[in-house]
Subunit: 262 residues, 2 copies
């Protein structure tokens, strides 16, 4: 394949940023400028991209795959603070040092921008600034979602909340949602261990919670990382999600279902 050699990076070529939903609104010139200073990086699961306390050398944008933001606690637990997916940006633009690690959860592809040219571009392009602001607001919303999920006293409820969030906030992801004979298939994109770290519990409890949800008929487990939603209302009831949103949820899900079936 024709590869344009980058200036020293192991990966070379050009990022394809056009299809990322978060950047779509940028003017074409800005997008081109971004692609000009960005280099694609292919990362394999398990790699640590940046560690707590340091300031990452580059600004990154996830093209596909999933990264996790996580902290290692004193008692040995690892707590996942959030997931970075397609279109999410990271790398402390204004902030000081990171206060969490960034690791690769599944094999991923990112676009890396050197800090200086990126920040210079930022000065001249208020649109880019706006996109970053929205990215941050999005992260704040998601952090609050995780808070609500974590506050659920039962693991079964936390898992139900996670599945619902997967269906809404992460629904744009390629492989997560798929309709099949009238039900919605959901691919669980991370391991049980990571799920446990995310929901503040242990893999064993996650497993029990999955089967608990299956027992009440809310889902069925097709394979460890693929489930089928059989009863949205039961799922919502378990999660204890908010009143108004749960109705919106139902509507959206029905929409997604019918859209994906077509």
């Amino acid at each position: 394949m024709a590869e344009i050699k980058g200036d020293g990076g192991s990966a070379a070529g050009k990022c394809d940023l056009l299809h990322l939903r978060s950047l779509k609104e940028l003017p074409k010139e800005t997008l081109n400028a971004l692609e000009g200073i960005g280099r694609p990086l292919r990362l394999s699961a398990g790699k640590t991209l940046a560690s707590e306390g340091e300031r990452p050398q580059f600004i990154g944008c996830v093209v596909n795959g999933i990264l996790r933001m996580q902290k290692t606690l004193q008692d040995g637990r690892q707590q996942i603070l959030g997931l970075l997916v397609e279109g999410d940006m990271f790398g402390q633009i204004l902030n000081g040092p990171l206060n969490y690690d960034i690791e690769v959860a599944t094999d991923a592809e990112i676009c890396a921008f050197k800090r200086e040219p990126f920040e210079e571009l930022l000065m001249h392009e208020p649109e880019l600034d706006r996109v970053l602001m929205l990215n941050m607001l999005n992260e704040l919303d998601r952090a609050r979602d995780w808070m609500i999920i974590l506050a659920n006293p039962r693991v079964k409820g936390r898992l139900a909340g996670f599945i619902l969030v997967l269906c809404t906030r992460f629904s744009e992801l390629d492989d997560v949602l798929q309709a099949r004979n009238g039900f919605l298939d959901v691919k669980i994109p991370i391991s049980r261990a990571d799920l446990a770290h995310l929901l503040g519990t242990r893999p064993e409890s996650i497993s029990r919670a999955f089967h608990g949800l299956a027992d009440i008929g809310a889902i069925s487990i097709l394979s460890p990382d693929l489930i089928e939603i059989r009863n949205v209302d039961a799922l919502i009831a378990e999660s204890g999600e908010e009143l108004e949103l749960s109705n919106a949820f139902r509507r959206d899900l029905k929409q997604i279902l019918s859209k994906r079936i077509e």
Copy 2:
């Protein structure tokens, strides 16, 4: 007292924004302009300032007292998503509608800015924009703190984490910290019920956790809303906080202790 009548507000006069730590860095003219469009509001505990789904009529800045951001869930639980204290701003500047309620936790005083003049001021004052950005980053950090605290499997650990956060992130507050005969007194600024809503549990468990911490000698309970930290290390150990930070914690706390004693 000399009061300058406002244009229709029930409260009148001028906000004193000078002493707020988050606004200190603003140029004097910007601060004056802000004070010009702001009106002080005195609020009593329990009042709902804004509800989920609506867009608040004004931008607010807390002068003193505590507001809470909270959501009412379908199963009746109320989950507190965070506290707004002296210097914090709220009111969805760029965002769409709120997705939580804002209620007054303790009698409070805020400075309210009408949306239009505030946003116009924002256009002309990049410094103000920057302050708002920092305010948002701060909120994100705090949301992540809450996540880590909520993820702690034991209520005793969550409570320990809360007390530590109180000593660090909220240490600038007037009444929270006070040194007395060599130990640090901490005023718990919200009720047991609110604390339960914040930590995702029930008031009974909060009570038991307080007494559990007292049993291991980490704290002593002077009155329901006033505790004394007797063993910081035990408290940190219970909270399971992060490795590096816990050392910083210890240092900071010792500093606070010696500073407050003087």
